[in-house]
């Protein structure tokens, strides 16, 4: 079993899924109500299960760092491009200013942006991994994420190391308007370079992957893979229901739906992610 790098109580504090209402402290420990089957689970038990429910296999949202812990051999990895920060280019103000939104996100998380890039070994294969963190403005795609992906691709080409993006995002960051839209173009242009260099690119779609992210790099993997039950789609379910005035069928836009419709190579349980990725990376190498 993987042990997180930080003490579990610290992890719990910053976890997005364990909201205060769902937490219940008892003498036996802290409990979490599964977002799938609603059964109460001991947080320690949930953590040991990589935040998947032992009863219904619901995959709770986890942080970028959790994926790094799960994937990298001996949890060893080096982080890149930590110097990049979002900027309120347009002086965008909605219910609060974008500048404040950025600063709040930095203050309320241990993050500087919605994406982190690490290089480490997955089953002995040196891999560049760019993982999103939903806690930072919903994992939204803005200039910094675009630039991080761009530089990560350069790094992957330079080191001839496979590239993995773990998506978890509501889409483009509206506060950067046309700049965020153009990140879809930018990342696609860079992925063309990566393809020319014959470096493998694997896209892992996790819950949720929607909007501009799903209409650019997340759908452009040599392999598109997903976690079970993940919401994946271009238009969000609410927008579709508003447009068509019809309730969506059960299971619409889930990873299983996308697999059936031919847009995924396979679905992988988080507990088997490392093993399966290692297998794929080895096969691509041979």
């Amino acid at each position: 079993m993987q042990e997180p790098r930080k003490p579990w109580w610290k992890r719990l504090r910053k976890g997005v899924d364990t909201s205060t209402e769902e937490k219940l402290e008892t003498p036996d420990g802290i409990w979490h109500k599964c977002n799938g089957c609603k059964k109460a689970l001991l947080v320690t038990q949930l953590r040991d299960n990589l935040h998947t429910c032992p009863h219904c296999n619901y995959h709770e949202k986890i942080d970028a760092e959790d994926y790094f812990d799960i994937l990298f051999d001996d949890k060893k990895c080096e982080e890149h491009f930590t110097e990049l920060r979002s900027k309120d280019i347009l002086h965008f103000v909605d219910t609060k200013s974008y500048e404040k939104r950025i600063n709040d996100a930095i203050e309320n998380t241990d993050l500087k942006e919605a994406m982190r890039v690490m290089v480490g070994a997955i089953g002995g294969n040196t891999t560049v991994v760019a993982a999103m963190d939903f806690r930072f403005i919903g994992g939204s795609l803005g200039s910094v994420m675009g630039e991080k992906i761009s530089r990560a691709i350069d790094l992957a080409i330079e080191r001839k190391a496979p590239f993995l993006i773990i998506s978890k995002s509501g889409g483009a960051r509206m506060q950067e308007s046309a700049f965020s839209l153009m990140q879809m173009a930018k990342t696609s242009a860079k992925l063309h370079q990566l393809a020319e260099a014959k470096v493998p690119y694997i896209s892992l779609l996790t819950n949720p992957t929607t909007g501009g992210v799903s209409a650019s790099f997340a759908m452009l993997g040599d392999l598109n893979i997903a976690e079970p039950g993940a919401l994946i789609g271009f238009a969000g379910p609410r927008v579709i229901e508003e447009t068509t005035k019809r309730k969506l069928p059960e299971g619409f836009q889930t990873a299983e739906f996308q697999l059936e419709n031919g847009f995924l190579d396979f679905i992988v349980d988080r507990k088997e992610l490392k093993e399966k990725l290692t297998k794929v990376l080895n096969l691509l190498k041979k």
Binding site: T95, S143, A215, A235
Partner: protein
Amino acid sequence: MIFLEFEKPIEDLYAQIEELRQMEQKTGMTMADKIERLEHKIKDTREELYSKLTTWQRIQVSRHPERPYTQFYSNYLCNDFVELYGDRTFRDDKAIIGGFGDLNGQTVMFIGHQKGHNTKMRQYRNFGMPYPEGYRKALRLMKLAEKFNKPIVTLIDTPGAYPGEDAEQRGQGEAIARNLIEMVSLKVPVLCIVIGEGASGGALGIGIGDKLLMLENTWFSVISPESCASILWRSWDFKEKAAVALQPTPQELLKYGIIDEIVKEPIGGAHLQPEEMAKTLKKTIIKHLAELTKIDPQTRIENRIKKYSAIGQFETVNV
């Protein structure tokens, strides 16, 4: 003639002219002088109004129901325009059209969003909102152009890709994403022009190329002002506020280096003098294609990658 909200002063002047004409008929007295004066006033008022359009007014002009669409331009600009249909896989999408035509002696592939001018046609064209097969048809036509070394012009005018159940089932996200990466590496010149609305991935899905131009009264943004307002302000009532915040006008986007050029519209908007608009557009397209054709394919693709890689604004801090 359909008047927009802010064109009320012009509408009133037209009404006055109409009254004078009726009076002429009734009384037999000539009102020519008065009518001429009013016509001048209309011209001045229009110039005045259009010289200082607000963001929201410009968006309204971009959505004017009489605005010329792709079909008008491709037929007007080209001799022997031949429309081509279908994605070869599922069906023919009506919200994106395309075909070959002879533009000033050069065969050009035109591809663009298509809206309708009346209720029936608007529905037929799905309000310019393509399904995945629309993007796949566009890509098929682009590959066809590439095969025979013909330049591509795309005309963008969409409120967004269609957000429907069947569109999702057939992979709206994948279809747009595929076009983005495929268009980056097209060997032939690709000139993209926003002729109306340029909303989100639905616009970008046929919007990757060597140059991005916008007609003067258009907009281009990551999301429509209405949707942006409903997400960030939780109400459509804030759409004008959202529009200003998104800075989606050609004038703003040129300043930010997102687009390469603004194509001037006739005073009062493209819909007022469509043929004038088409003539200006023709000149613009010919000029750009002449420049782009000079570049060899390898350099062209490298330039595209360089251009897109450079887009983004961020800070670099010491860590």
